[in-house]
Amino acid sequence: MPDWPWPGDWLRPEEWTALRLSLLVAATATAGSLVPGIAVAFLLARGRFWGKTVLDMLVHLPLILPPVVTGYLLLIGFGRRGPIGAFLAEHLGIVLSFRWTGAALACAVMGFPLLVRAIRLSIEAVDRKLEQAAGTLGANPAWVFAIVTLPLILPGIIVGLILCFAKAMGEFGATITFVSNIPGETQTLPSAIYTFTQVPGGEAGALRLALVSIVVSMAALVLSEALARGVSRRLAG
């Protein structure tokens, strides 16, 4: 056995649980947001339709609303007795309130504007003349999107995903309001840190989890930098 403590010993089991849960929630929120995020970014960047301003506002609302308000709105809408929540529970058997899936939804809603913003900017930067050229070479619009537009906006997608993931890792207000703070089900890192700060003698635990949060966030940032740089180098030729 090596002398240094295996990371498993640094954290207590319930702290591990909070970390694993946070990673699961953030990954689910980010993965689930990807396709809708690209679609909405496209609508906002290229679309010309009635209600575009409204869509733009709706997407960005979680950025400016107090997270507690967003969580409360989710509770009203997606709670067991909420209109959407009741429908999902009755017809699809999906329950979000007080489940980790609800935490993922809350994190997705909070991270969505960051994802959409990054992708939208990269779509607006795409030279549409290249798409036109692809059309003259025989590619229909779906192919043009898949093999010209998508690779060109890849750096923006990566940045958006990382931002969304980081936001989801740190999300607290909307999550705790919507799905509460249940250890093993909805207690993510921030909720666990919050709980530690509320009990006597919890400082050490809070500090450990704070360090974990910092490490995870930094790793995400470094990864996104590396990926974005690799992709841009490919694009630059």
């Binding site: 290249l130 036109q132 059309g135 003259t136 070479l137 025989g138 590619a139 619009p141 192919w143």
Partner: protein, 228 residues
């Protein structure tokens, strides 16, 4: 038989275009000052602009007929387009750029083989490079090869040399001349440079202020326009 029949009218702001001409095999130059409507006309032929009124027929197939509501989208026209700025895909290598249209071209259609195009345009040594690392002349040669490898029935070249300096121009002109003699694809070549037109064109369509003022065999038209 004419490879291309065009009879269109179009308005863009205050500019009016009304052009009617037929192009036989070989190189047909749309020749005239900038602003005479040449670029709008090739964009209509390629399907990038939809004319207000008129018809475009290529190799016997009607691609545009506003009276019958026909407007074939660009990706189904099988018309190659070489743009002034090259427009190579920056995320693909030269080889991938060249083969781009190959995926969408009908498989059984006869067409020039990639190796032959690479030889013809002298691209062998840059196949692995990306467009960002090419000179202006190389970029245009790749753009020409890319358009040809999509097996087009007609090749449109919109001022392909205008963005290059004289030396690069002199470097590419022979390639285009070889293309005319060996590839067997009718070419519509847009230019405002008399020297290029004189060297390449079999047929000249003279344009001025959105109208065709003369059309016919190159030598006659060029001589007449020089005298006038």
């Amino acid at each position: 038989m004419s490879e291309l029949l065009v009879d269109v009218e179009h308005e863009q702001g205050a500019f009016r275009l009304a052009a009617d001409f037929a192009a036989p095999a070989g190189v047909t130059a749309l020749f005239g000052r900038s602003g005479s409507g040449k670029t709008t006309l090739v964009r209509i032929i390629g399907g990038l602009v939809r004319p207000r009124r008129g018809r475009v027929v290529v190799a016997g197939e009607t691609l545009v007929d506003t009276a019958r509501g026909i407007a074939v989208p660009p990706h189904r026209r099988r018309i190659g387009f070489v743009f002034q700025e090259g427009r190579l895909f920056p995320h693909l290598t030269v080889r991938q750029n060249l083969l781009f249209g190959r995926w969408f071209a009908p498989r059984r259609e006869p067409g020039t083989e990639p190796d032959a195009i690479v030889d013809l345009l002298g691209l062998g040594h840059i196949l692995h490079r990306r467009p960002g690392a090419l000179s202006g002349g190389e970029t245009q040669r790749v753009a020409i090869g890319r358009a040809l490898l999509a097996k087009p029935r007609l090749l449109l070249m919109d001022e392909p040399l205008a963005a290059l300096d004289d030396a690069r121009r002199a470097e590419i002109l022979p390639f285009i001349a070889r293309l005319r003699d060996e590839a067997g694809v009718p070419i519509v070549y847009v230019s405002h440079a008399r020297a290029e037109v004189a060297q390449l064109a079999d047929t000249v369509v003279l344009m001025e202020d959105g109208r065709v003022t003369a059309a016919g065999p190159a030598a006659g038209i060029l001589a007449a326009s020089a005298a006038g």
